[in-house]
């Protein structure tokens, strides 16, 4: 099992399937608050839903109203299970705190691949890769 040590942004411990992008995410305007679908034109995850995934991306961008979009997603059950960043920006950090989404940053995200089963232990700032893949067993 591979483990990476980062920094706690918001507490919690959860296991799930990773959804990884190298593109930054703007939640306000870039993510549908009702479905969890990424709607930003040309985004690597355009058309994909972040609901129920462990969302792995470099950092947030865009309007501070984005924090409320994470809150809206949580309310309708479409929020990511956890968030893993290289460097969490204030919009995402505040969004995770108000929505109580576990989050860790200072993780080299290129080590994680979409579909891998990972565990986020935010209390200790640890991200662990538990299994190869949900979708493509080899």
């Amino acid at each position: 099992m591979t483990r990476f040590k980062g920094r706690r942004i918001f507490k919690g411990k959860i296991e799930g399937e990773a959804l990884v992008t190298g593109d930054d995410i703007s939640f306000f305007g870039g993510c549908d608050p009702e479905t969890g679908e990424i709607v930003e034109k040309g985004h690597e995850l355009e058309g994909k839903s972040i609901a129920g995934k462990i969302l792995v991306f470099p950092t947030g961008k865009g309007s501070t109203v984005g924090s409320y979009v994470l809150y809206a997603l949580k309310k309708v059950g479409k929020a990511p299970l956890a968030i893993v960043n290289e460097s969490t920006d204030t919009v995402v950090a505040v969004g995770c705190i108000i929505s109580e989404i576990p989050a860790v940053d200072q993780i080299e995200i290129s080590n994680i691949q979409t579909g891998q089963k990972i565990e986020v232990d935010a209390d200790n700032g640890i991200v662990s890769i538990k299994g190869k893949s949900y979708d493509h067993p080899d």
Partner: protein, 393 residues
């Protein structure tokens, strides 16, 4: 991070759940940015007011905070999506108005002074030099840091609210003197005229400087209104939260060696960028950031005895107390008699105007940005005089 006993108790929930949640936000941001302690703030400006942007979930969050959260310091509010009194005649629909009022009522319950404006410094929320504050609204942040010399980071809606409910913020970023030193010098080699010119300068410097703190020379004459226009533009196009302007702004700084020049050609190029080809102008708006009483007096003078042309809509946007003053002085009557609207509490960037108009003419570079991105209008940037000439032609 070192917390005082009272701060630790706030975090532990002794002062209720809104205070606890607020402390979680503040201490987490402090940890992310390496703050060693919290500091007291004496003034807060909250953003995230338009129901359009907040949505039902945002409103629900605020309602939760309002259950036991009360402001500890003077707190004012950013523009809403409508004039809270005269919304109907501006074409705002009933559903939106009802929901917008719900948002404002929730802030009111928390003790926020619910006059909705992006220029709190014009209506009584005016910090002094060296005062630590926690403001959202990028244009006001830039104005407060630079023109007034108060100290604030660029807060978001929830973090500003957290500061309001605790009277605290984490000590990092622009609260520390060492982070307020100019990094690059801009020599302006052309004479600037009106507010639109200062908006263009904000565009030129904002785009070039990004997050680097500019030191601007060559500006010989300004007004508060021109600095307001520049602050809004440089914050919109560059994310600038602090600038220095030689012989004009009060902060002490070292003068950077690295120098760039800004010429009339640069400003012309910025104007070309903000002017769309064949913009069909049917909407004229002045007051981004909110118009001062001096600007409103000028508008009234220019509209005296004139009539806004058929098919055109004019919004002069301002804060409620300034509108009251304009009513008292007869400016409101002059403006409205000409067929223009003096709109308080709202602005053309946050009102629900998407696709309602084809082309906006304004003196504000910031307004151009939101008109295009959010509302899908074409834009032209001109002086206030030219805007109103267009309105009556």
């Amino acid at each position: 991070m070192d917390l005082s006993r009272e701060e630790q108790e706030m975090l532990d929930g002794k002062y209720g759940k809104a205070t606890k949640k607020s402390m979680e936000i503040i201490t987490t941001l402090g940890e992310i940015y390496g703050a060693e302690r919290l500091i007291s703030v004496s003034s807060v400006q909250i953003a995230g007011v338009s129901y359009h942007n907040l949505g039902e979930a945002g409103l629900e969050y605020l309602a939760g905070m309002a259950e036991d959260g009360r402001t500890k310091v003077l707190t004012t509010l950013n523009p809403a999506g409508m004039d809270l009194v005269e919304w109907k005649k501006h074409g705002i629909n009933n559903d939106f108005a009802r929901n917008q009022q719900r948002v404002v009522d929730i802030f009111n319950r928390m003790g926020v002074v619910t006059t909705c404006t992006c220029t709190p410094y014009l209506i009584g929320n005016l910090p002094h030099y060296g005062e630590h504050i926690a403001w959202a609204e990028s244009s006001a942040v830039c104005f407060a840091n630079s023109v007034i010399g108060a100290l604030t980071n660029r807060e978001g809606g929830p973090s500003a609210l957290a500061a309001a409910l605790t009277g605290r913020t984490a000590e990092y970023g622009l609260h520390l003197r060492e982070n307020r030193i100019a990094q690059v010098k801009y020599e302006v080699q052309t004479k600037l005229e009106d507010t639109d010119d200062f908006g263009l300068l904000g565009h030129v410097i904002g785009v070039r400087t990004g997050k680097e703190i500019p030191y601007i020379t060559g500006i010989v004459s300004v007004t508060m209104e021109k600095l307001k226009s520049f602050s809004a533009s440089v914050a919109t196009y560059g994310g600038v939260a602090l600038f220095h302007m030689e012989n004009i702004t009060p902060n002490r700084t070292l003068v950077p060696d690295r120098t760039e020049v800004v010429t009339r050609e640069d400003l012309d190029a910025a104007r070309m960028t903000l002017d769309d080809d064949e913009a069909d102008i049917d909407f004229i708006s002045i007051g981004c950031p909110h118009a001062s009483i001096k600007e409103i007096a000028r508008v009234a003078e220019l509209l005296e005895g004139k009539r806004v042309a058929e098919g055109k809509t004019v919004w002069i946007t301002t804060a409620k107390p300034t509108k009251e003053l304009a009513i008292m002085m007869g400016y409101y009557e002059t403006i409205e008699n000409a067929g223009a609207f003096l709109v308080s509490d709202a602005c053309c960037a946050v009102a629900p105007l998407k696709e309602r108009f084809k082309g906006l003419m304004t003196d504000s570079a910031k307004a151009c940005f939101y008109a295009r991105g959010k509302n899908k209008f074409k834009t032209e940037i001109r002086s206030i005089e030219q805007c109103l000439e267009e309105a009556v032609t």
